[in-house]
Point group: D2
Chain length 342, copies 4
């Protein structure tokens, strides 16, 4: 926003009035008039409100750049589950990768028991090393669907490339676009074209504006709706895996009025912080959380360290739904070796 | 931590057991033995627990580098107010700078009304530009103390240079070391030497480890105790002033077991996000929050845009103490110009 | 690397010897032995060298995780042009997007005149907003190829999705994987499968290790060779578009011995810094630079502000090849309005 | 800068003309006029130039916020050595900490032999841990001065707290304000008041603007002149200690026209990258470099790993003055243990 001060007006009075609204201002002096540029870190205030300030002669605004997203409801129905403002918090859980049919059935039952409504699990996995496990593909999708159905859960899972999108959309209630693909326009177009609701993770170095543009791309190409997912951004701190940008959660929820959930598993990478970060996310305005859970984290084919146990999952669910404060993750007591191959 | 695997043991079984404890491992192969380096982003697990894993022959650990801090209680009494785990959340509020005697009295009464227990306000101000207001010094300290006493509040205020420390300590219950000075060893020594409790803000680019070292320096030089304060770190996002590192709050509270509060005013810089970030901070494990409040933000001599009104302060207090969920900041309705000089 | 100290050896002597080699060490005390973990920010020193240090009984190393890349030559021949250590610096230039057939012919002739050997230009464009120009696709590829051939240049251009890869490979000498796609495994596999040399831009938030893993993925799937391209990473500084990580350039060139070029146009986003950053890149060890150039930047369909004029391009070429020091970009003198539609 | 477009003018023509000058623009629509905000990452273009664009009716600019710095010469004479544009590059070297009288004499002779003109060395050391060596204080200052004088070198050394400033100024030709103190206003005032030239290191998380404000503070309080020093900023990359912001060097040198040097030792923390980064710094526009050198890095009381040997220092000097390209640091061959206590 650019605010122009009229002639014969003391600019410092206008400045004070702008600050009174919480706006960060930078003053520029023209030949004819003083202008205040409103910095992006300012709260959202309506143009009309600013125009009413005595001494303000014009307020220039940028054109809406994400018109479809601006019209998006603050709550989205996904397979009968409401996600967003006013709705009960939503718990999504499951393994990083879908590993076997048995595993996903067992974990689905744990998710249901904890009060979860979505089963997550990767069928196609984006991995840093090409030598790591890349996912079981369509079989995994089938197992996910069956396991979810059996426990009255919905399925959220990721599409990795444009050609996967229709297949994933066939099995998933909510099609995920992962952090590494937030900037991947061909994938956004293909996923949008499935006309399903989409879970859009924030790129690990994406600004909020870039993230919203990616959401707009999905809607423009046909997505039925979007749920955003904050999953940690890159920073310098090494005691956690990424930096959970909790203020972005509050911003999306309370200023943009869009449904947003948080993935504290990737953000922190630390199992011992996940319960507290689930609580903080809901308190900040998140409509739910998505966590990685596993019954044998040591045997997980990917991201085992950040997976929580079924017990911790239950505790998180109990706190989310009952808002029971306090509680820490139960300690792992077992220290004898068990082979991962049963 | 470095874990050494014994001969004739399958390292992948030890790896699985380590991951079972949530540890991120990196494998190194020696001539004699396989070793796993435990990455810093891992949860804290006792050495004894790891030594009990079958096949582990040694666990090497680093020496405690902050012995005084490790012995610090998780709750600190500051002028009769308990700050930390188990205690009620603490609300600290007041203006960025102490501007006039009248102002600070009026704001103190608002802080007390909102349920706050500490009055904050800068007497010595660190400013980016040398041409900005630098604080009223000792007069401000006196006004602060009188205003606080009148409303049964404690005083928290910042010392900017070693020679200020004794003076500030005379007036403050809790002596603040600001973000820009977290790495300022001479100041830490001087503030420690006052033998008062200290509020230590995190440097805007400090890692958690560096922050803990600064706290250790304070204790080593005599500080009676330390309360840490997360106030946002530097990142790439421009829609907020800094990036509030909520995971660091959970880490300090739940893993290091130290008293920590959050300053969402500087972290977000946006008045519209402050209530939600207060809620999130308490949920993450913070022992309290410190916010900037002002009755006429447009007239504030510094950081006016991020100051909240007395009404918002009341609402934050009500939510902190009653845990009433929801609620947004009341809108500023007034849009006529008022001169800041009464 | 983990270094184990023998019994009856003073660990501080081993520590000193390690530091003598430039290694950053962190000490861990086991039940049986002292171990030093060598931090990642240390220079690369051979295991054998460390094993020769008196008192060292074992040195554990990680397995090579990018075996194909480790075997990659430090200089790659692309269409008869050598890129890498020992070879003359390579200049790649052209528009951000290929806009018209005339434009690309005219720019190709400028690139050739400046001593460039590669013509760059986007046929498929990754854009932040879905409403921005997305590229002319196959027509642009055809125009690029013809223009390049006419001026004895090679073509470097980007593939945006797996299904584009074969088509792009048909027209390009060097197939580009862009910054937003560095983590896009399906694209890396498809581009690798074309068996062409690949220009791999660093993801804007990718660590060097993640970047090398992406290069390995390309090679594993068939790429004939890889040239890395540093294009700036995300940071907090706003006076430039991104932060050019010059140390990563030196690291790739002098420690990893791989061909690397620099794209200062995206890194700085500022036309006035591009000549100096070209010089700095070559001095740091880059095998060449890739810059965006345009004859009418004001009419460019994308990234016009960062495009340099043909005159600046000539100056950069002259300095790269003659190593003439100094020089700044010529000023734009024209300030009358010209319509972009001829 | 804010550019206002006149009525009856096609804003897209003005936009094109602005981009023609390399400016990044954001469009805002007022009730009366279209305005373009020029983003901070744009090149510096004179207001007059923009006013000449057809259709532009006003150009609003911000008031100079660092008037003294704007009037600062681009070259500063420090003890008879010119530092800045047009002058020969300057080499500053010496140990991280001044450890003994013998050491500093021996290193001074190496610095002189390599063509250096400044001897550096810490008398007062800012350390992360309170248990680390904090410097020899005044004795170190005396040793530094004598050693420098004997080899016709100037002295650059750091003042850590306001009360040190006069003492340091007595011994140093160039008084250093370290990275951890860039935001320390009381220190800046005290150092300015010594009326000496000052070397101002960039804070590890400081923006260029904040850095310039700190330089202005020095000048406002009396500093005779300022040399800026880029020493790496905090980022996410862990294969180097910090991220050397080479574009900031080009910006300070070529746009702000101020003397700037680079400290690649702290920036990279890796001895193997220092020669290449020295070359790159000079190529980017730096007036010199400051490096840490040591004859027995393994025995250094601080930052040994990043210290270069006298041989590498000679090579750097040779390349800086003769501009001999290429060359790597000589390898450390010695691997037997020598006690650091002679």
């Amino acid at each position: 926003m650019i605010v122009t001060v009229g002639p014969n007006v003391d600019p410092s009075l206008v400045r004070a009035a702008l600050i009174e609204h919480g706006l960060w201002v930078r003053r520029f002096d023209g030949l004819d008039a003083v202008q205040f540029f409103i910095e992006p870190m300012s709260p959202s205030v309506a143009r009309e409100t600013i125009l009413k300030i005595e001494g303000v002669v014009d307020v220039a605004v940028s054109s809406p750049s994400t018109p479809r997203l601006d019209a998006h409801p603050s709550t989205l129905d996904v397979g009968g589950v409401a996600i967003g403002a006013g709705a009960a918090p939503v718990l999504m859980a499951g393994p990083c990768s879908v590993e076997t049919e048995e595993q996903i059935h067992s974990l689905a039952s744990e998710v249901a028991r904890a009060g979860g409504s979505f089963l997550r699990g990767g069928a196609f996995k984006p991995r840093t090393s090409p030598y790591d496990f890349q996912g079981h593909g369509q079989s995994a999708l089938r197992w996910l669907r069956t396991a979810a159905d059996q426990h009255h859960l919905r399925v959220v899972t990721e599409a990795l490339q444009p050609s996967d999108a229709p297949l994933v959309a066939e099995y998933a209630d909510l099609v995920q676009v992962g952090s590494r693909n937030m900037h991947n326009a061909p994938l956004l177009r293909a996923v949008g074209a499935t006309h399903r609701p989409v879970l859009l993770k924030r790129g690990m170095a994406a600004t909020v504006d870039e993230w919203l543009f990616a959401a707009e791309t999905l809607l423009l190409h046909g997505a039925q709706g979007v749920v955003l997912c904050e999953r940690g951004i890159r920073g310098f701190e090494t005691s956690t895996r990424f930096t959970l940008d909790i203020a972005a959660v509050a911003l999306i929820a309370h200023v943009h009025h869009l449904p947003i959930i948080v993935d504290p598993s990737h953000a922190a990478g630390r199992r011992d912080l996940i319960p507290a970060l689930c609580d903080a996310s809901i308190a900040a305005g998140a409509a739910g959380v998505m966590v990685e859970s596993h019954d044998r984290p040591g045997c997980a084919l990917s991201d085992g360290p950040q997976a929580i146990s079924p017990e911790t999952l239950s505790m998180i669910g109990a706190r989310m739904f009952a808002r029971t404060p306090g509680g820490r993750e139960p300690h792992v007591s077992n220290s004898s070796l068990r082979s991962c191959v049963a």
